[in-house]
């Protein structure tokens, strides 16, 4: 089977883009990715596009075809993927599959979300559609609420503290200072993070990722194609995806996310490595507790030790296993459909050595974990430096 490489990446600035819609955000990110790969749009065989809800945010569905029409090659196949907040990551997994199978050679894959034109209650309502709309949503649960329940469970079982949660926010805000594409460039103190306004007890404003506009895109291609290109390719060596009950009440555990465990195991097996081989990871910190739980699910730390790992600085940018060097969803921003793609872009930069002021030394393997809802979809990619 074919080997699959990332040869180009493109990102819009994350934040509020008053004059840009979903189609513009994706177009700008795509143009950058195409230029970065040093190819032409006519070299692309198709598009995979991650997007949660342009239908609700902008009253526009069928965005995949719009994306194709924005390029001269408007007839190529273009497919939208919706898997809640994992839409971007799953789009990359589908693009990988299209190349791996031999169906296509070169794919433009990305994601975008336009969110800031709705009010916060309206955005809460749209995001709420990713929870169970029969048995969760009508009872008033929100996403901060679901992760608050998980935080309470983790605190009760393992002694994780509110400080541990806030330390994730402080770390990710610090990392975002060095990322010009991040929504926030604002260092915060632990005291400030601890004392911000409560959203859903025990989670406060600094435990939650923001509402963001943004787009992200990658060019994936085959081993044969890269031979004629003057680029530094990064190989996708592991892909794993898993699902679970959409409603939190029906999960076996509240203190871990089984879909993360299964998806990462599949990715590690495909890459023929273990968690110890990973040099840097991007994890889905939609809420601070999610980063703590996920770093345990991925096998980086023992169950219950995720909070301690943040406290000890292991996951800091100068630690043994830096997590979310680009600021994470928390401080870089979380334009839903773009998120999983942007995570992979950070890994590509860290492996290629183009991460600027946040560049780590000697990154061989990077892992990206992107999830949907309260963990009902998880998708994990492992990227590797090309020897």
């Amino acid at each position: 089977m074919k080997r699959v490489f990332v040869i180009g990446v493109g990102l819009t600035k994350f934040g509020k883009h008053e004059h840009l819609s979903t189609r513009d955000l994706f177009f700008h990110a795509s143009k950058k990715a195409i230029a970065d790969a040093k190819i032409d749009i006519n070299d692309v065989d198709g598009i995979y596009f991650g997007n949660l809800s342009s239908d609700r945010f902008e009253h526009q569905a069928h965005t995949a075809a719009i994306n194709a029409s924005n390029f001269s090659s408007r007839n190529f196949p273009s497919t939208r993927i919706e898997d809640a907040c994992a839409s971007g990551g799953v789009a990359v997994a589908q693009a990988y599959l299209a190349i791996k199978s031999g169906l296509h050679d070169t794919i433009l894959v990305g994601g975008a979300e336009k969110m800031t034109n709705l009010s916060t209650p309206e955005v809460t309502d749209v995001l709420g559609t990713c929870a169970d709309n029969i048995f969760e949503l009508p009872h008033g649960i929100t996403f901060p609420g679901l992760y608050a329940l998980m935080a309470r469970a983790h605190m009760h079982k393992y002694g994780t503290t509110k400080e541990h949660l806030s330390m994730v926010a402080v770390k990710n805000h610090f990392n975002a200072l060095k990322n010009p594409y991040a929504q926030f460039h604002k260092e915060i103190t632990l005291e400030k993070a601890m004392n911000s306004v409560i959203v859903s007890d025990p989670l406060n404003l600094y435990d939650c990722s923001p509402i963001t506009d943004g787009g992200a895109a990658l060019i994936l291609t085959t081993e044969e194609k890269i031979k004629n290109l003057d680029v530094t390719p990064v190989e996708i060596v592991g892909v794993g995806q898993a699902s679970d009950s959409i409603s939190l009440a029906n999960r076996k555990s509240l203190t871990s996310i089984e879909a993360n465990k299964i998806a990462s195991k599949r990715a590690y097996n495909m890459a023929e490595i273990t968690p110890k081989n990973i040099d840097v990871a991007e994890v889905h910190d939609c809420f601070t507790i999610a980063e703590i739980i996920t770093t345990e699910d991925l096998g980086f730390f023992e169950e219950g030790k995720g909070g301690k790992a943040v406290e000890e600085g292991i996951t800091s940018i100068d630690g043994d296993l830096p997590i979310n060097t680009d600021g994470g969803l928390k401080a870089k921003g979380h334009p839903i459909g773009a998120t999983g793609v942007a995570q992979i872009i950070e890994l590509v930069h860290q492996i290629r050595g183009t991460a600027g002021d946040r560049q780590l030394n000697g990154v061989k393997y990077g892992l990206a974990q992107n999830m949907g809802g309260s963990g009902a979809t998880s998708v994990v990619h492992i990227l590797k430096e090309v020897d």
């Binding site: 916060t120 209650p121 309206e122 809460t124 309502d125 709420g128 169970d132 709309n133 029969i134 048995f135 969760e136 009508p138 009872h139 008033g140 649960i141 929100t142 901060p144 609420g145 608050a148 329940l149 309470r152 469970a153 009760h156 306004v197 409560i198 959203v199 859903s200 007890d201 025990p202 989670l203 009950s245 409603s247 939190l248 009440a249 029906n250 509240l254």
Partner: protein, 129 residues
């Protein structure tokens, strides 16, 4: 939420109807057509228990349009006497008084109003015994 949807789901929502599997005897909520434990299609409706204990809880300060009238409100994960777990609002008590392991009972209340159609949506919540 649209009126046809409220109407369609009224039994499940008003009464708390899940399933019991006639092959493995496991109970599940919400209602599915296949037993999630053993895969059998031999399932029949089952009314979930009236009482349970509070596992975890949170107080929600920000929410979607339909429920804003109700904020702040408490949502808990309740483990019922029959082992089924549900997410529901906890009412008739103060957030500070809540404790893990508290005994609760099911009660019939207004869940949401001022929705797109101006309808009132009913369902179960839990209150301390």
């Amino acid at each position: 939420m649209e009126p046809p949807k409220i109407w369609r789901e009224r039994r499940e929502r008003y009464l708390g109807i899940g399933i019991i599997c006639e092959d493995c005897q496991k109970k599940n909520f919400p209602k599915t057509r296949i037993c999630p434990d053993c895969g059998s299609e031999n399932v029949k409706p089952y009314k979930i228990a009236e009482r349970g204990t509070l596992k975890y809880f949170t107080q929600i300060m920000n929410t979607g349009d339909e429920l804003i009238f109700n904020t702040p409100y408490i949502v808990g994960l309740v483990e019922l006497e029959d082992g089924i777990k549900v997410t529901a609002q906890i009412v008739d008590c103060d957030f500070k008084e809540l404790r893990k392991g508290m005994k609760l009972e099911k009660t019939f209340r207004v869940l949401a109003r001022n929705g797109k159609e101006g309808l009132i949506k009913y369902g179960f919540k839990f209150r301390p015994i």
